[in-house]
């Protein structure tokens, strides 16, 4: 491994660790009051997040040790398992409804969000497919089947945010895999037309757009979360109110430890803190992209690119919603938002980046021969 590669690995790893620790700290600050009011008797969110982090770390170590990680059969199995889970979550009695979406499977005291893992599964399956292709022909209908089946299942929950992240990460693999650019332009055109069609079909979506453009047009309805988020970030100014000094976390901003945790970070640490966190996410995604570019094995290349796209796009989507750049969509902030599924998925993605960066892509064909690719 080149010294540069080593450095990229270090940057990636340190960014992920730093974001996770920041996550625990801000889950504590943002969620204490909410948790006390709503789940007074149970363990505080921050303590639970610590446990989730420990579980995630264990999972990450396990992934780093897994020899068969590059095996296409493994990814097919993972993919099928996630599709089944996505289907299962829709069955009443298995899936639980939260905030209007049937996205959760309860497992005793824990609950699992299959969509979080489906994203990884689709990236893994697609990366595996792309790396196995032969000849110059890139385009394959199979790719779209792999993408659209789980996407459709996720939209049935519905969970627009997770679907978006999954589709965008998958298309990122198609993009770096050499799909013709015309295809993406066409896709963009079709997307715009689709949105126009959706608005025409259901005028309430226009209200969503209106609320996005001016949240105060419906301050207690569609604009509520956007306004509460702006009232956290806006007054903070350059330096913020200081750690623990958020006001919006006192039930003004709903579930401040979850999707809108970045608003509390921005409120307590100001523009400077917010930009610092954005910089960490950028370092995370950029170092992953750097690592992808240095891969010789297509599987590693696709896998790392896909994970980088997922982490980068998801953090963009989340912060975009919090800052009012994008319409409100429920997406967690990787590593930071409270929640086991989200944190575990982020760390699985991170571990996969690290694992493939150290040559896992060859494992299947040349066991123990990773050395020959090192310099």
């Amino acid at each position: 491994m080149h010294a540069l590669e080593k450095r990229l690995v270090a940057v990636f790893f340190i960014s992920a660790v730093a974001l996770s620790l920041l996550g625990v700290a801000f889950v504590h600050s943002a969620g204490s009051y909410w948790g006390e009011i709503h789940y007074g008797d149970s363990l505080p969110f921050a303590a639970k997040q610590g446990i989730y982090l420990a579980v995630s770390a264990t999972a990450a170590v396990f992934i780093l040790k897994t020899r068969q990680i590059g095996n296409p059969k493994l990814w097919t199995a993972v993919y099928i398992a996630s599709v089944l889970l996505l289907a299962a979550v829709l069955i009443p009695g298995i899936g639980a409804v939260r905030n209007g979406s049937q996205s959760w499977i309860a497992l005793g005291p824990f609950s699992l969000q299959p969509a979080e893992f489906a994203k990884i599964a689709v990236i893994g399956k697609l990366a595996s497919m792309m790396s196995e292709r032969r000849g110059r022909k890139v385009f394959s209908p199979g790719h779209f089947v792999v993408i659209l089946l789980p996407a459709a299942l996720i939209m049935l929950q519905p969970d627009f945010g997770s679907m978006m992240i999954m589709v965008v990460s998958a298309f990122a693999i198609l993009l770096v895999g050499g799909y013709p650019l015309k295809f993406f332009f066409g896709l963009a055109g079709a997307g715009a037309a689709g949105i126009a069609g959706l608005i025409a079909a259901a005028p309430y979506r226009l209200d969503r757009i209106k609320a996005y453009l001016d949240p105060w047009s419906d301050p207690l309805g569609t604009g509520f979360q956007a306004i509460q988020s702006l009232m956290a970030t806006g007054p903070a100014g350059l330096t913020g109110f200081g750690y623990g000094q958020s006001r919006q976390k006192f039930l003004y901003l709903p579930e401040p430890q979850n999707d809108f945790i970045f608003a509390i970070i921005a409120e307590e640490t100001g523009f400077i803190g917010a930009v610092a966190v954005i910089a960490l996410f950028f370092l995370l995604a950029a170092s992953a992209i750097g690592l992808a570019a240095r891969q010789r094995e297509p599987l590693s290349f696709y896998m790392i690119s896909g994970m980088a796209a997922m982490l980068g796009f998801q953090s963009f989507l989340n912060i975009g919603v919090v800052s009012g750049l994008l319409p409100v969509t429920g997406v967690t902030l990787p590593f930071i938002s409270y929640g086991g599924s989200s944190l575990l998925a982020a760390w699985i993605a991170a571990a996969l980046v690290l694992r493939f960066a150290s040559g896992a892509g060859m494992a299947k064909r040349r066991p123990g021969d990773g050395q020959s690719y090192r310099h």
Partner: protein
């Protein structure tokens, strides 16, 4: 089979990286817009959203008299506030609260259910009695708060009401001093900024903000409440006794222009101003009323003539046939048959109109006008009292010989009482026209620091000290020997002048409707107080200033004298006895005498003995050396003999 990464794929990866960089840059730009550019706007909106302020009314400044006695204060009258989010059973809360504050239950419930963070329960819950607030506090209704609030407190009731005015629903000054000094008196309210969560639950671990207010400044008037009480007593008695329409009085320190009392009758209840006719509360009579001054104005003519040196009061003589013809008009003396031959001092004592026409003629029309203006007539005094009028003088064009003549004895012009007090003060204080003033100083009640202090202002020297001395002497003589005899107060050397003026209505004199006035001062050798009294429309008695107003001024002066430290003095002009006057005798000193001795000594004075018959006198009323009517009784109080 070899696999490799095509260069196209690396280019695509670079493209992906570029897109990521652009997206993240967009985030930074958007956050900059939200957190830096829109910071003030969003801060304001957030403050509104967080606002859970419980307002405490600002303490309004008090209005005090010259020695700090409270004329108007404040009393606590709490106001109720309600935070709907903190109460889960608003109908029950409304039902419990409604009877206590006399509100309609359903209307109150509707008010309390409003979607607002904090609701002021007005009007029923505004300024409730303190005891009711305590009672309500015991109910322990969640979300109901008692805000400290005040209403005005009037320890002296209606006293001074036309001067100090009153405050309205929100304790804002609406009339008088309250209105005029609104800015000074208004306090800035204190607030408790309660830190709550979105549901309105207080957050005990987060410090509530206490936003400090500022009490309004106290205003100390030049008024002396003890003098005011005396004056108002006299006015209300006069109102009753003479069935007058209205009455007014001014007491002034002629040396400084300080107003010691300013009274109008009738008064009104400032806490119930809504039921009072605005013509009462808007008219502070001593500064608002303008009327023909009548004879009190002759002091101005007299002072001018003395300053000009055109008369020697004791040497020059004048014959009054009862009328005089000026410019073809026949002007009559108030005494139809005339006063006959008199010295000019007697002209003043008799208030003889033709005599004053002569004095005015000697001064000359232009000079007299100049003096009148110099004495402050024709313009407001600058007293700083709301609603002051400027009076009406003849214009230059309209000022012919007849007007000159009538002005000389105080007819045909219109002046305010305060202008007269100001002018006469100048005539007797050595010639200095002092600006009358009512506010002594303004004090910050928290620090005790003086914010503002009024000092006497000399407007100008109108006449000389010498001429002023002659005016004093002449006016003392009016009281001792002339038309002002009823104001005579033994030992205090009262000087003064009566005035009786017919009221003018629609440009014509109204028959049988007079304003009778008297302006007096004491002591004549060194004036310390000036008292002006006017009674408008007395019905029951002979309508002359000398009969109605002069005794009022006499009583006021004799009551005020001890308060002002004016000692009875020697050298007074003794009162001239006239037929019909009660015979006055000087009270002998009877202390130490036994009853038997007294029986032998006095035959003409009635004595009332109190105490043991064998004892001797230890106290007596009236005191030795004072004057009493011959028919009066001396009360003696005896103790055991030595």
């Amino acid at each position: 089979m070899r696999r490799f990464i095509e260069s196209k794929m690396r280019k695509r990866l670079r493209l992906a990286f570029l897109m990521l960089a652009l997206l993240f840059a967009a985030l930074v730009v958007k956050l900059f817009q939200v957190q830096i550019i829109r910071n003030p706007e969003l801060t304001e909106k957030a403050m509104e959203n967080w606002d859970r302020e419980l307002p405490f009314a600002g303490v309004r400044g008090e209005i005090l008299d010259r020695s700090g006695r409270k004329i108007i204060g404040n009393k606590v009258a709490p106001t109720l506030y309600f935070m709907p989010s903190q109460n889960r059973d608003i109908p029950a809360a409304a039902a419990a609260l409604a009877p206590l504050i006399g509100a309609d239950k359903s209307r109150l419930e509707e008010q309390m259910s409003k979607r607002a963070s904090i609701i002021k329960l007005a009007p029923e819950g505004k300024n409730i009695p303190y005891d009711t607030a305590i009672q309500i506090g015991r109910l322990g209704i969640p979300g109901l708060y008692t805000g400290v609030d005040y209403v005005r407190d009037y320890p002296y009731g209606n006293m001074l009401s036309r001067l100090v005015g009153f405050t309205g629903y929100d304790n804002q000054g609406l009339a008088g001093i309250e209105y005029e000094y609104e800015k000074v008196l208004t306090g800035k309210g204190e607030k408790i900024r309660m830190f709550t969560d979105a549901r309105g639950n207080p957050l005990p671990h987060v410090g509530d903000g206490w936003i400090r207010g500022k009490a309004g400044a106290n205003i100390e008037l030049t008024i002396d409440l003890r003098i005011q009480e005396i004056v108002e007593r006299e006015l209300s008695q006069a109102m009753l006794k003479y069935d007058a329409d209205q009455a007014l009085a001014i007491v002034m320190d002629p040396g400084t222009g300080e107003i010691l009392a300013l009274a109008s009758a009738p008064n009104f209840d400032p806490s119930d101003y809504a039921s009072v006719d605005p013509s009462i509360y808007n008219r502070n009579l001593p500064v608002w009323m303008t009327f023909e001054p009548g004879s009190t104005f002759k002091i101005i003519t007299l002072a001018s003539a003395l300053e000009e040196g055109v008369v020697n009061l004791k040497e020059d003589s004048f014959f009054d046939p009862g009328h005089v013809t000026v410019g073809g008009a026949r002007l009559r003396c108030w005494k139809r048959e005339g006063h006959g031959p008199q010295t000019f001092l007697e002209v003043v004592e008799n208030s003889c109109n033709p005599g004053f026409i002569e004095l005015g003629r000697r001064v000359g029309p232009d000079k007299l006008t100049e003096y009148i203006r110099n004495f402050g007539f024709g313009s407001t005094t600058g007293s700083g009292i709301a609603g002051e009028a400027s009076g009406i003088l003849f214009s230059k064009e309209a000022y012919g010989p007849v007007e000159h003549a009538t002005t000389s004895f105080g007819q045909g012009i219109s002046v305010t009482p305060i202008q007269q007090a100001q002018a006469v003060a100048a005539a007797v204080n050595g010639g200095r026209l002092m600006q009358p003033y009512i506010v002594k100083r303004i004090v910050d009640p928290e620090t005790g620091k003086e914010i503002e202090r009024s000092e006497p202002v000399v407007k100008r020297q109108v006449i000389s000290e010498e001429a002023s001395g002659k005016v004093r002497e002449a006016l003392e003589s009016v009281v001792a020997n002339g038309s002002g005899r009823n104001a005579f107060t033994d030992g205090l050397r009262v000087g003064g002048k009566t005035g009786t003026a017919q009221k003018v209505e629609e440009g014509r004199y109204k028959d049988g409707d007079y304003i009778v006035s008297f302006i007096g001062f004491a002591p004549a050798d060194d004036p310390d107080i000036l008292v002006y009294v006017a009674v408008d429309g007395p019905e029951n008695e002979v309508q002359f200033g000398g009969v109605i107003s002069a005794p009022m001024v006499g009583r006021i002066i004799s009551d005020i004298a001890p308060l002002r430290g004016i000692e009875p003095r020697d050298g007074q002009m003794e009162r001239e006895y006239r037929w019909g006057d009660p015979v006055q005798i000087r009270v002998p000193d009877l202390t130490g005498r036994s009853r038997d001795e007294l029986v032998k000594m006095f035959h003409t004075i009635r004595i009332e003995w109190n105490g043991p018959p064998e004892g001797q006198v230890i106290r007596q009323l009236p005191a030795p050396g004072t004057m009493m009517e011959e028919s009066g009784i001396i009360h003696l109080y005896a103790g055991p003999a030595d």
